[in-house]
Assembly symmetry: C2
Homo-oligomer: 364 residues x 2
């Protein structure tokens, strides 16, 4: 049977979106159906549809993996949700559940490949679904296994739109802060390189965890908003001579959110002994390092990729407790192309959220 | 007053050695004087005298920082040694003792600069010393603060020559294995890249700590000696197609001892999730990395530099307990130039040790 849903999909690598109508699978025993209210716009969506991450994206493709909505139906085995609850979905909708990585709560590294929210081969086929790959949150409804849906804590209910981007931008910063920096950052100095969707979450989460947070940006353009708007403790511009020098050897952790190739030497020099440089962006090109940077201060360079399901729930609970949400700009569901263009021009503070719930699907 | 000692020093960057006679400082209250029996030959000695690490080495310079000998005199406050004991000196002879790094037992990172065994400005000046920089173990005697001298455990007394290189090669591998790999490596897979003075210590220490050790070398030339001589569990050659592929995604830790630029991609690919790639060599040139390697497996890349004094003692005690020493080739004290040449040609298994004790200083 399945149930029809409406969305916007890319049909080729041009980057433009057109309406799509397709069938979600039936709500199985452990599934919930979510009526999507808001979906955040992530740069990954753009990379995916423009064939920047794979030569042959599975068109038509409706992206979007920062999803919040209201539970519209629950399967017979569902325990965590009831109809009417607020639920969220992040970057994954399924995984094998049996491998070492899944058992350790790191479903993003599932040895049998996680099922990502869009563009992944289906793990559960048929049951009325008309698609061969997963379709994401650029759509009015989604059906997902209860286990991969997150509970939206009550304190976030009145900030649903600003909650949506936590599901990717939030967890991307939460994971390294929790697992590599130790979560309690009181007395620690944290540097955040790049102040965009990811970076501003780093500032918010780092401050909430007790860190002294320094934003490292190219110019002074974002200084005021970093210090006053986001509450960063310090701001240094890589392009202003002498500024980085002032914070040399001072930081315990640096999280680098920049996804274009850049000079690492002056940034890594900001770390103190045994400092950790953590990257969450992947520039297309190779970058250069020198072993002496790592030897003479016992420094490490590491990566982090989104986070597991339980981790994502912990992040949401922490954000509710500490009042951490994203700074967003709301935009109409049918304004995706415009949103993407502006993201590409870095013209958003700091995340677009599509107003899916209020969009009226045109008759016919 | 001071006391005259004889050694061999480099007088310019040619790399050749000539006799040198100079005065060690008087034995102060917390000092011991060591009659040197053996000194290991480290590649650092060669870099230093050939001006590869600084433009103007302080010639004449007697290098050598893998020193074992017998205590010939002790100051009035000395508690750890008595005359006739075996003692050892590694890469450092002093540090400020008051900074955060010293207090944490990481004197190599002393914020006021550690005093290295050779070529460093003196921390204790005068008292009969004729030099302005430290002179190392390419000499018959050395005077050092008790605190920076190591006790040679009894079980190593009959292997004094093979013990000497533990003081640099040994601690260089011990430090990452202890602090970054967790010391107990049972059930863990360890890769050692490069099988020279450092690499063979990595195999020995890794095995003694319980790891499954794989040697990663360029060709099969060292396969037999790695497996049979050193007891490695596996051996793969980077230059033999398909061999690295077989160990892909399998290792918990890799320690890379190579100090020439090399392709990191296929090596880092051998790490499993959350694996650590640790470098102890510093190629002169920049090396290339790609963030995706780190993101998709949460991998880290880090450096390690020798080790602190207490750590060095722990290493010696462990080596005594587990019968770990270096494979060495003994060479006459006046054969330094020949030893250096052969080191440069990688023609040594695995460390030269100078027979200082048996060398008779020519009359006049």
């Amino acid at each position: 049977m399945g149930k029809e849903t409406f969305g916007f999909a890319a049909y080729d690598k041009s980057g433009s979106h057109k309406p799509i109508t397709f069938q979600r699978r039936d709500v199985l025993a452990s599934d919930i159906e979510i009526e999507i209210i808001y979906t955040g716009v992530c740069h990954s969506d753009i990379h995916s549809i423009r064939a920047e991450w794979s030569d042959n994206p599975p068109y038509p493709l409706a992206t979007g993996h920062e999803i919040v909505g209201k539970v519209a139906a629950v399967g017979s085995d569902v325990k965590k949700f009831k109809v009417g609850d607020f639920a969220a979905v992040g970057c994954m909708v399924d995984s094998c559940g049996t491998c070492e990585e899944c058992k350790n709560g790191m479903e993003q590294f599932c040895l049998n490949s996680a099922t990502f929210t869009y563009g992944s081969p289906l793990r559960i086929e048929g049951h009325g679904c008309t698609e061969h790959v997963t379709q994401g949150g650029y759509s009015k409804t989604i059906v997902v296994r209860e286990q991969f849906a997150l509970v939206v804590p009550e304190k976030l209910h009145d900030q649903l739109a600003a909650t949506a981007p936590l599901l990717c931008a939030g967890i991307t910063l939460w994971n390294p802060l929790e697992t590599q920096c130790g979560r309690d950052l009181s007395g620690k100095k944290l540097g955040i390189v790049g102040l965009g969707g990811l970076g501003h979450m780093g500032v918010r989460l780092g401050k909430a965890m007790g860190a002294h947070v320094t934003v490292i940006s190219r110019s002074h353009a974002k200084k005021k908003e970093a210090l006053e708007g986001l509450g960063a403790d310090d701001f240094v511009a890589t392009g202003v001579e002498g500024e980085l020098e002032k914070v040399k050897n001072s930081m315990d952790f640096i999280i680098d959110t920049v996804s274009a190739k850049h000079d690492l030497a002056p940034l890594i020099a900001c770390l103190s002994f045994r400092g950790k440089y953590i990257v969450v962006g992947a520039p297309e090109k190779m970058q250069e390092i020198h072993n002496s940077w790592f030897l003479y201060k016992s420094i490490s360079y590491s990566g982090s990729l989104i986070g597991g399901v339980d981790q994502t729930q912990r992040m949401l609970d922490f954000c509710a407790e500490h009042g951490v949400v994203c700074d967003i700009e709301m935009i109409g569901f049918d304004q995706i192309d415009k949103a993407h263009e502006r993201v590409l021009n870095a013209d958003v503070k700091y995340r677009f959220v599509l107003d899916v719930g209020n969009y009226q699907v045109p008759a016919n």
